[in-house]
């Protein structure tokens, strides 16, 4: 992801911007952004909510909530069906969201965006539709050991169905992909390399352009799981060069239950429908049916219209704030969190120091992540504890679980301090760190 990396480097060296971002309490721009998220004014267990679980799901800004509300109050009808005005209005809102998202990720055409229930369904769509058509017995598919279960299980099931074989790229001790191992596996001429842009378990930012180039060099297609990247980075599928890119709305300020699959139009054209029923056909007779055009042939049934409209609004919100502005703020938080967390005695941080996002996976002495989470929760601090749907990665590090604190555009440096104070509280509860 050369573009983003160079952007990040510029941002980090821009000390004035960091200085400004650091002063969240005096920075009016930041307050305007944070005030957009009413949930952040809540108290939890008698303490102001410190929400550090955005990698699991982000909070929603008012304008997304209001957009969904307005759609449902004023614009709702079924899409692509009626001739009546309301149906046309609803269809326009739905297709406008598709267009917003297509432009946002640099798609050649809005028909390259298929709406799904989220990243998981996007990957399942490719595994079922493309996989069942083009993957044969003995074919190989490359995944990595840092994949979320949603980018492992659909391929395992496809492999069972077809007799294909799965190989997993190894992960280095500091939580990066072992590129030599990738090269070794690519010599086996796989059909597909499916991998994550950013690790949900460790925050590792993978060298996606490099991986795509190496995969294409041996004739493999590429699918990128963008669930953890799209909320933070400016995605441009043309620059990435990949063949499929999957992402979810709810991790990027949008509603749950909706996501997208970007795919190359020529691939979508030759792929059969994923599910079948209404919406995805052009003609049905008792003898058979003809499929609708891309992308509608992949969107069977009445879609999550209000969700899609909210998704479009969330993307507009991120664009209005500016992903470069978000990157400056998050880089500053990341730097500060790294500094504070690495200074905590007994804390083990997983993942690389560089080439990472603001997702921090750690263990703290012998305090189990669940206990840590319970203690932090009593102080109003929400983190994730567990295997993060990353069991192969946990096995790789010989652990069963980590605590994970993840930051987003609305978090503050004070919340990094609150996390560290919460860790001190945990040490006190446990009578010290063993």
């Amino acid at each position: 992801m050369e573009t983003n990396q160079s952007e990040n480097q510029v941002s980090i060296s821009d000390s004035q911007a960091i200085e400004e971002a650091l002063n969240e309490s005096t920075n009016p721009d930041f307050q305007v952004i944070r005030d957009q998220f009413p949930i952040l004014r809540r108290n939890i267990n008698g303490h102001p909510l410190v929400y550090l679980d955005s990698a699991a799901s982000s909070q929603k800004p008012l304008r997304v909530l209001e957009r969904i509300d307005r759609y449902l109050r004023e614009q709702h009808a079924n899409v692509h069906r009626g001739v009546h005005s309301l149906s046309i209005e609803a269809t326009d809102a739905y297709e406008e969201a598709r267009n917003t998202i297509a432009v946002h990720v640099g798609a050649a055409d809005s028909s390259e965006i298929v709406f799904t229930r989220g990243t998981t369904e996007s990957i399942n769509l490719v595994a079922s539709s493309w996989g069942d058509t083009f993957v044969k017995e003995g074919d190989e598919i490359i995944l990595t050991k840092m994949e979320h279960h949603s980018n492992i299980v659909p391929w395992q099931i496809l492999a069972e169905r077809t007799g294909a074989r799965l190989n997993y790229v190894d992960v280095t001790a500091d939580g990066r992909l072992d590129m030599n191992d990738l090269d070794r596996l690519l010599e086996r001429r796989p059909k597909l390399v499916s991998f994550t842009h950013v690790s949900n378990g460790m925050g590792t930012l993978n060298p996606v352009i490099d991986i795509v180039e190496r995969a294409h060099a041996v004739g493999a297609l590429t699918l990128i799981d963008g669930a953890q990247a799209a909320p933070h980075l400016q995605i441009n599928v043309e620059e990435l060069g990949c063949d499929f890119y999957a992402f979810s709305a709810h991790k990027m300020c949008g509603p749950t239950g909706v996501g997208a699959l970007w795919g190359r139009r020529d691939l979508f054209e030759i792929m059969p429908p994923y599910q079948s029923g209404g919406e995805m056909i052009s003609e049905v007779t008792l003898e058979g049916s003809r499929w609708a055009e891309v992308p509608h042939k992949f969107e069977a049934g009445t879609p999550n219209i209000s969700g899609v409209v909210g998704f479009g609004e969330a993307v507009q919100f991120l664009n209005d704030v500016g992903l470069d502005t978000i990157a400056v703020h998050e880089n500053s938080l990341k730097k500060y969190a790294l500094e504070r967390l690495t200074a905590v005695e007994g804390l083990t941080l997983y993942g690389p120091r560089e080439e990472r996002t603001s997702v921090f996976s750690f263990t703290y002495g012998d305090i189990h992540p669940h206990d840590l989470s319970t203690i932090l929760d009593q102080n109003g601090i929400a983190i994730r504890a567990g295997h993060h749907c990353n069991q192969p990665l946990m096995d790789h590090f010989g652990i069963s679980a980590t605590a994970r604190a993840s930051f987003y555009l609305y978090n503050t440096h004070n919340e990094v301090d609150a996390l560290c104070e919460g860790l001190q509280m945990a040490a006190k509860v446990f009578g010290g760190i063993a």
Binding site: G346, H370, D371, E421, F430
Partner: protein
């Protein structure tokens, strides 16, 4: 404020709910688990995990003359699951399957907030886990080892010894 150089020091008071959850006895069982070892002459063994968090407990029993002569456990997990399993191994010794089932029921009621059981001496140390009732999401942690036991007893695996 806290001292960033000394993470073990904080001036903030520990909330009382946390003190009732993390009793010293629980932390003692967590850090020095009793009977956490393999049992070579086990007659019964079962492993259960919590798929949500990856915690695992293997319960090993040696049953003689219809009573549990020895109970051990292996596995990994949070302080609540490990302390509960450690205490379990102490409380079920010399009990019949019926008695074990009765104990398991009482313990489950305790975790669901039945305060009358706080005076039940049959539960012994297990009463230290009563604070879990204020943390419903952690009840399944406290029950992980007991689920193994229930599986062995309710499944009528006990008391018959395996060949």
């Amino acid at each position: 404020m806290t001292d960033p150089q000394n993470p073990a020091r904080t001036d903030r008071e520990i909330p009382s709910t946390l003190n009732t959850l993390y009793r010293e006895l629980i932390l003692d069982h967590y850090r020095k688990p009793r009977n956490k070892r393999a049992l070579d002459d086990a007659t019964h063994a079962i492993t259960m995990n919590n798929p949500l968090c990856g915690d695992v407990i293997e319960l090993l029993l040696r049953v003689e003359d219809g009573r549990i002569a020895e109970a051990c456990f292996l596995g990994r997990g949070c302080s609540i699951s490990q302390a509960s399993a450690s205490m379990l191994t102490g409380r079920v010794r010399n009990k019949t399957p019926e008695e074990v089932l009765e104990l398991s029921k009482k313990f489950t009621q305790l975790l669901h907030g039945d305060e009358s059981l706080l005076s039940d001496s049959d539960l012994g140390d297990l009463r230290a886990l009563a604070g879990v009732s204020k943390f419903p999401v952690r009840i399944k942690c406290a029950l992980l080892g007991w689920n193994c036991l229930d599986e062995l007893t309710e499944g009528e695996v006990l008391p018959a010894e395996s060949p």
